[in-house]
Amino acid sequence: MTQSVAMTINGRRREDHVEPRLLLVHYLREVAGLTGTHIACDTSQCGACTVLIDGEAVKSCSVFTVQANGRQVTTIEGLAEDGVLHPVQQAFWNEHGLQCGFCTPGFIMAAAYLLKQNPSPTDEEIERGLEGNLCRCTGYENIRKAVRSASQAMNGTAAEPSAQLVGSAAAPVED
């Protein structure tokens, strides 16, 4: 038995018939082909599957696809616009906020949501805002730094504007 669902994912409308038990994360990855959203814990601790539903950060492993019926979903693939990285993506790159990169899409989505709610979070507010996301590579040091730096970029207080996605990352930078 399937149910029909319709939702807008990254600005594009989609209609499908899905089983009621199909998790949103599986729908996004396996039906919509958007594999940037990851699964790492199955029990909603890790946040790797974080997406935005109607602008709000949600763990897509804890939502059935049918619950997203009629909603606007944004995944990591939909965050950069017209080839320009979202400031949070740019900051993760600049500040070495990722290593293996597996938890990264979830962190970026959660951080983008946090900064939308609170454009100038304190370190404590960053920690509270991202406590639903786990990373095993970075010790969180550079993630914290990246969120701070993204906040400055979005508030226009950063030294450097966001760069284009295209182009070389090879210019040596002062350590």
């Binding site: 940037g36 293996c100 990169g101 597996f102 969180y140 040596p172 930078v173």
Partner: protein
């Protein structure tokens, strides 16, 4: 213009754009046409006999393609899982493990059947319907009880529960103890922990029927190893078996062996004539991916009243699990490094590997070295406390000061300056002010502590001169450097990466060594189809061994380019000068040819007589020695005596990994490494039920991985003592943070609790443990 432009520069990683935009290619992102999905039925018992397996209900379930058990797999898998028994010190018992249990299971989570179905949901549905009739047998969970004569056996194929029992004598221990003013004893534990890569394991096998060809996509640190063993067991020659590992979502040592599921998925693909995908869920991962540590050390130290360390005796009891991990015995290296960065008259170590009804232990970030550092740094603090000396002074008094230094077991430390990193760290944290503050706060009933960890580690595995006598193997590394006609460069290597950023850092090395633009260099790894055989990435070896293999190929390319330049300029080869990739005749730098021009010429007509076309080289590098990073970490904590909670106020680290290729990447490796050590010290512990052998920490709800809120800011600094072992002067940094950090935290906690008469604290130092200790001390 600087001679070096890329090596040492903070280059942003070229790996990142795809990863931050959701375009990575991790194992679960691999999808093939007509692909079926495998679900593994696992034993719920730690130890049981399998009476029978009824697959009829599962076979009838919706969408099921096949239900397979050991009998089916025995027809296509021609052998057991590999164990590098060469590492097992005395090879006392090296039992075989077939990828799937036939009649007896020896740990909860051991595979007993697999279901292949049209999708993951349907495979999992049917897996619930496989009926296995078990006869439960006693579970052997306690290491010491398992060693007793007459203990129940972990599995019926064993004569007892001892895997190895090996002595490591390092000098006249009785003479050393005879000189002692003080002798102290301490038991020090190393709880089992989960490596917990954020990406679980998984694989996609595509066996082509009638052609005996196979491609296996898998999340691994060692693609060539997987090809060698899985291909070998399935009867597919290496030339026809391709292992591909794209982006790997973390490894930490838990993805450096061929696993049962890689055999089972490949065999299932062969049996069903379908591509087969298997993705481990987190609960499976916690049960069936190798775990780290799981050791107990009984230590005895002899020292003089002035703080001079004399002798160290210890026994390592290592919980192997039900079967040897492929490299579990490597953790015996803790015995050889138990002396740390100090001079000892003698060290006498013994390692006993004990089987229990648990998943295997295997290397986890540091693998034997965190254990060695933890024990020696704990012991040095106990000596300092006993003698009423400052822990920094006991360390300084006993540091090895001249290099190369041959330790008590014949290992040669290549270079070091241990006092320098200690001094730097003490200055960075302002040690005198911290001690003063500690005194002031104690008067107010607040308990702060300062913990030192001065460490040295062995990495860059490994020189065949060292590994061959012990293990009969050579852990060399490989590279192929190919300069294309228009000048861009492809570098293929036998190492792999799972977050380390090799595509960036290796390209930095090649850009400088060949004198070509960084953007013109492409690094390939992870695909056995287009890389030379290599032993993979672990043991902080990829730069010190793999990077040197790259250097060797670059040098060969430069040598040939010089010949091409000499021919082009009608000059003698001896007169060719190379400056940043520009080749000219001595004295005439104005007329120079770039490497790209020479590469173009190498593929064209008019080569020097006898010269082959093309500009490329293949190299294998066998290092002359290990490399020996070192450093000093200092942790400052406060313990709340009413709750037992620990807060980390400062964490200062001064590390020395020799020359640095990319400081941003080095710092990142340290951050993550330190975090894992802190996490072992404070939070993590794999727990099984003592009686039944059931996993109690089977989800991330129960197994505590810290969030950002639990991790302090890391104050990093470094000294640079180039390694004399290799031309780059590099050591390794992937494991250093973990090797140093657990004991810095524990020593700080112990220091904080000294007023209560507490001398030693075990890991994890969770609030309940500390609260109970304080309560008991106050009573």
């Amino acid at each position: 213009m600087a001679v070096t432009t890329m090596i040492g520069a903070r280059i942003q990683r070229r790996e990142d754009p795809k990863l931050i935009t959701g375009h990575g290619n991790f194992i679960d992102d691999v999808n093939l046409v007509n692909m079926a999905h495998m679900s593994v039925v696992r034993s719920p018992h730690a130890h049981a006999r399998i009476r029978s397996i009824d697959i009829s209900a599962a076979l009838a379930s919706k969408g099921v393609v096949a239900v397979l058990t050991a009998a089916d797999f025995k027809a296509v898998i021609g052998g057991p899982l590999p164990v590098t028994n060469a590492f097992v010190p005395d090879k006392r018992q090296v039992p075989e493990q077939f990828p799937i249990a036939a009649d007896e299971v020896a740990y909860a989570g051991e595979p007993v059947a697999v279901v292949v179905a049209e999708d993951r949901y349907l495979a999992d549905d049917a897996a619930q319907l496989v009926m296995v009739d078990y006869e439960p047998l006693p579970a052997v969970m306690d290491i010491e009880k398992a060693m007793e004569p007459g203990s129940p056996l972990v599995k019926s194929d064993r004569s007892d529960n001892i895997g190895w029992d090996a002595a490591f004598p390092g000098g006249d221990i009785d003479a050393a103890f005879a000189e002692a003013d003080v002798v102290l004893k301490q038991r020090i534990g190393q709880q089992r922990v989960f490596p917990t890569a954020m990406e679980t394991r998984g694989c996609v096998a595509d066996y082509i029927p009638y052609d005996n060809r196979c491609t296996l996509w898998t999340s691994t640190q060692v693609p060539h190893f997987i090809r060698l063993f899985v291909g070998g067991a399935l009867g597919v020659p290496e030339s026809q078996f391709r292992v591909v590992s794209h982006d790997v979502g973390g490894g930490f040592g838990a993805k450096l062996r061929p696993y049962p599921e890689e055999y089972l998925a490949t065999a299932a693909s062969k049996l069903t004539e379908r591509p087969v995908k298997w993705i481990e869920d987190r609960t499976e991962s916690l049960q069936a991916t190798t775990q780290g540590r799981g050791q107990i050390f009984d230590v005895e130290v002899a020292a003089k009243r002035d703080g001079t360390l004399l002798g160290l005796k210890f026994t390592q009891l290592l919980d192997i699990g039900a079967y040897h991990g492929v490299f579990s015995a490597f953790q015996v290296v803790a015995c050889l490094l138990g002396g740390g960065c100090y001079t000892w008259k003698a060290i006498n170590a013994r390692s006993i590997g004990v089987f229990t009804n648990r998943m295997s232990t295997d290397p986890y970030r540091g693998a034997g070295r965190p254990e060695a550092t933890h024990l020696v740094e704990r012991i040095v603090d106990l000596v300092a406390l006993e003698l009423g000396m400052d822990p920094a002074e006991v360390r300084r008094k006993n540091f090895i000061t001249s290099f190369p230094h041959t330790n008590n077991f014949g290992l040669v430390y290549d270079s070091g300056e241990y006092a320098k990193s200690l001094d730097r760290a003490m200055a960075n944290i302002d040690y005198p002010a911290l001690r003063k503050r500690q005194e002031e706060l104690r008067a107010k009933g607040r308990y702060t502590g300062i913990g030192f960890s001065t460490y040295v580690e062995i990495c860059g595995l490994g020189p065949s001169s060292a590994t061959a006598p012990a293990a009969g193997i050579a852990l060399v590394e490989s590279s192929m450097v190919r300069v294309h006609p228009a000048g861009s460069v492809t570098v293929s290597v036998g190492t792999h990466a799972h977050g380390q950023g090799h595509e960036t850092t290796f390209a930095q090395i090649v850009a400088d060594t060949l004198g070509v633009p960084y953007d013109s260099v492409e690094i390939r790894h992870g695909d056995t189809g287009d890389t030379p055989f290599g032993y993979g990435t672990y043991g902080s070896r990829s730069l010190a061994v793999g990077g040197m293999a790259i250097m060797a190929s670059c040098h060969k390319v430069v040598e040939k380019a010089k010949k091409l330049a000499a021919h082009a300029f009608e000059a003698s080869e001896e007169d060719i000068v190379v400056d940043q990739g520009r080749y000219s005749v001595r004295g005439n730098p104005g007329e120079a040819k770039a490497l790209a021009e020479l590469a173009f010429a190498s593929y064209g007509a008019g080569l020097p007589e006898g010269m082959e076309h093309g500009l490329e080289a293949v190299s294998y590098f066998d290092p002359p020695n290990f490399v020996w990073p070192f450093g000093c970490h200092i942790c400052a904590v406060e313990v709340d005596p009413e709750t037992g909670a620990v807060s980390i106020d400062r964490y200062v680290a001064v590390d020395d990994c020799g020359n640095v290729i990319n400081p941003m990447v080095v710092d990142g490796q340290l951050h993550g490494g330190i975090a894992q050590g802190i996490s072992q010290a404070l939070f993590e512990e794999v727990q099984y039920d003592d009686e039944t052998g059931q996993m109690l920490t089977g989800t991330m709800l129960d197994y505590l991985i810290p969030t950002m809120a639990e991790m302090p800011h890391f104050e990093l600094d470094r000294t640079v003592t180039p390694s004399p072992t290799n031309e780059l002067g590099v050591k390794g940094i992937g494991e250093a943070g973990t090797i140093a950090s657990s004991i810095a935290v524990i020593n700080a906690i112990t220091d904080a609790l000294t007023p209560f008469g507490i001398k030693h604290v075990e890991m994890p130092a969770r609030p309940d443990r500390l609260w109970s200790m304080i309560k008991e001390a106050r009573a």
